[in-house]
């Protein structure tokens, strides 16, 4: 069985020629949660956007393939690619404040996609949305469907977005730091909801986060990203038991612990950063040679 998402040697550059993705390879198997972890600016979100076909126009993919359920996205016509991505993927965004259209009510906003893109009847779409709202534990769907986004709390909005993401039964969901913008207390509930819906629907998730605690809770596999390069890839349990790369070890050391909050807050070591810089430089050199 082919992977749900297969990214091979993906490289992307900025207009000034600087590489922002450095030969990234990763695969997400059907029904699997793959965490993509790294600090801000490491290119985690960029990978998600590349898969969903919404890279900023300044970023150009120069090399590599992306296969969505065996279909090469790079070989499709733009229209066919949009249709494929629209039908098989969905996004749970980072900021629930701006991810819903402020001037449209929740109901039409959610059903619209099912009706227009997937060609469902209005009635079927409405039933589906209500079912999903129930699954994300929204108790009064009638009120929520009539609300405008600003009338809902951040946590409620994120629930709505999760329901919307799962509603069209996508094969792959890109979750881009879905809990970062939320209160700590709400974060946990949202994370649990995503995990629960993921299990029930068997959806593969590419879970972008900077939080190793979240990685441990939700994912089966992890890719650790630094400066657009995958520095370590492993089963989640194995990674936490025995991190191989010095950067991964440094990241884990930098995670605060409740027992000794201050002692454990260590920034990533200078020697580790120097090692990473050398690694990146040599990778760029090796990459640059055949490309001129």
């Amino acid at each position: 069985m082919s992977a749900c998402l297969d990214i091979r040697d993906l490289s992307a550059v900025l207009p000034n020629g600087q590489r922002v993705l450095r030969s990234v390879s990763l695969a997400v198997q059907p029904g699997e949660v793959r965490a993509l972890v790294g600090e801000s600016g490491a290119g985690k979100t960029m990978i998600g956007k590349a898969v969903l076909g919404v890279l900023p126009s300044s970023v150009r993919i120069v090399e590599g393939d992306m296969l969505l359920e065996g279909e090469d996205l790079g070989k499709l016509q733009p229209k066919a690619r949009r249709t494929l991505i629209g039908a098989r993927t969905a996004l749970i965004p980072q900021d629930p404040l701006t991810a819903l259209n402020p001037s449209r009510r929740i109901g039409p906003q959610m059903t619209d996609r099912l009706v227009r893109i997937l060609g469902w009847s209005g009635e079927k779409a409405d039933q589906r949305i209500r079912q999903l709202l129930d699954e994300v534990q929204i108790r009064d769907p009638d009120r929520v469907l009539k609300n405008y986004p600003h009338e809902l709390s951040g946590g409620m909005r994120q629930r709505v977005l999760i329901a919307a993401a799962f509603a069209a039964e996508p094969r792959l969901i890109v979750a881009d730091e879905p809990t970062t913008a939320l209160d700590v207390t709400v974060q946990k509930q949202i994370l649990r909801l995503i995990a629960q819906l993921q299990r029930e629907h068997g959806t593969a998730i590419l879970f972008v986060t900077h939080d190793l605690g979240v990685v441990a809770k939700i994912s089966q596999k992890v890719s650790v990203l630094y400066a657009g390069k995958v520095v370590e890839e492993a089963e989640t349990a194995a990674l936490f038991a025995a991190p191989q790369h010095p950067y991964t070890r440094a990241l884990m050391a930098a995670t605060p612990r409740y027992t000794d909050p201050f002692a454990s807050l260590k920034p990533v070591d200078e020697t580790v950063l120097a090692g990473l810089a050398a690694e990146i430089a040599s990778a760029d050199q090796a990459w640059g040679r055949p490309h001129g």
Binding site: L52, G53, V54, S57, R82, I85, G86, A90, R104
Partner: protein
């Protein structure tokens, strides 16, 4: 919470006051032949420069006095409102349609479309607007439609600039990206997702532009470039009043007050409507 309520109350009062004045002026304009106490064109040199009703020497039936040819000032203001409103609605709507469309396209698509449209706007705005209007009317010939065309041709840039900026801001929002991922076409996203979010600004601008159109029409009348000098226009009355300011101040002051109230009402009405329209502010 309290602050919100106070400001909302304030905007409500503004909306009603401004809307009330505009409605009154609009009704007077529509039913001008019925409500005007005198024929606005009838001259009577026996009745020249009558003062307004509270001053000694006023004649009943000539509430705001008469001008130097004995024409009733109130009736002339009422008939002048007709031209003011026709120009306001027609010119502002035309400028709005052209400017908002181009602004939406420039802001949403960016790239070449934006560069071309923005350069045109820059060049356009380098012309001094009033001179541009006078030039246009001089070329097109005087008349109501020339005035309307001139105002629309000059002022579409106002809409274009504001709507472009608003659209750009909205286009960066995640909901637009989400719609992209879902597979909507770009034009569909522009019209269905982005446009409703810039409508409040369009409405506010439209109302403001109506006020501006009234002023520009008055300016053109003032320099005798609007419609024929027989028909009363606010700018024309002001121009005549200027000549007799020492003998009959009211011929200058009343049309000025009418003009100011109307322009102010248009802008306040627009602001109030924007607050009402916007689901986030509501």
């Amino acid at each position: 919470m309290d602050d919100g309520r106070i400001s909302r109350h304030g905007s409500g009062a503004k909306l009603w006051l401004a809307g009330g004045w505009l409605l009154l002026a609009l009704l007077a304009a529509i039913f001008a032949p019925l409500v005007a106490p005198q024929d606005p064109l009838a001259q009577d040199l026996m009745l020249e420069r009558l003062p307004p009703f509270w001053m000694s020497g006023a004649e009943p039936g000539y509430w705001l006095g008469t001008d130097s040819l004995g024409r009733d000032l109130l009736s002339r203001l009422i008939f002048g409102a007709r031209i003011a409103f026709i120009v306001a609605f027609a010119a502002a709507t035309a400028a709005c349609l052209v400017g908002s469309t181009l602004g939406l396209v420039a802001g949403y698509f960016g790239g070449w479309a934006d560069r071309i449209i923005s350069r045109i706007v820059d060049v356009w705005m380098a012309f001094p607007p009033v001179l541009f209007a006078i030039l246009l009317v001089a070329v097109l010939g005087t008349g109501l439609s020339s005035v309307i065309i001139a105002i629309a041709v000059i002022d579409w840039t106002r809409f274009c600039r504001v709507i472009r900026a608003e659209t750009m801001g909205q286009s960066r929002m995640d909901y637009v990206e989400n719609a992209r991922i879902a597979g909507y076409g770009r034009i569909g996203i522009m019209l269905r997702e982005v446009l409703p979010n810039v409508v409040p600004s369009i409405v506010a601008l439209l109302s403001l532009e109506m006020g501006i159109a009234v002023i520009v029409e008055a300016i053109l009348s003032f320099v005798n470039l609007s419609i024929s000098t027989d028909d009363p226009t606010w700018g024309g009355i002001i121009a005549e009043g200027r000549l007799s300011i020492h003998q009959a101040w009211w011929v200058l002051v009343f049309p000025l007050i009418t003009l100011i109230l109307t322009v102010l009402s248009f802008s306040q009405f627009g602001e109030g409507l924007k607050a009402r329209f916007d689901p986030v502010l509501r």
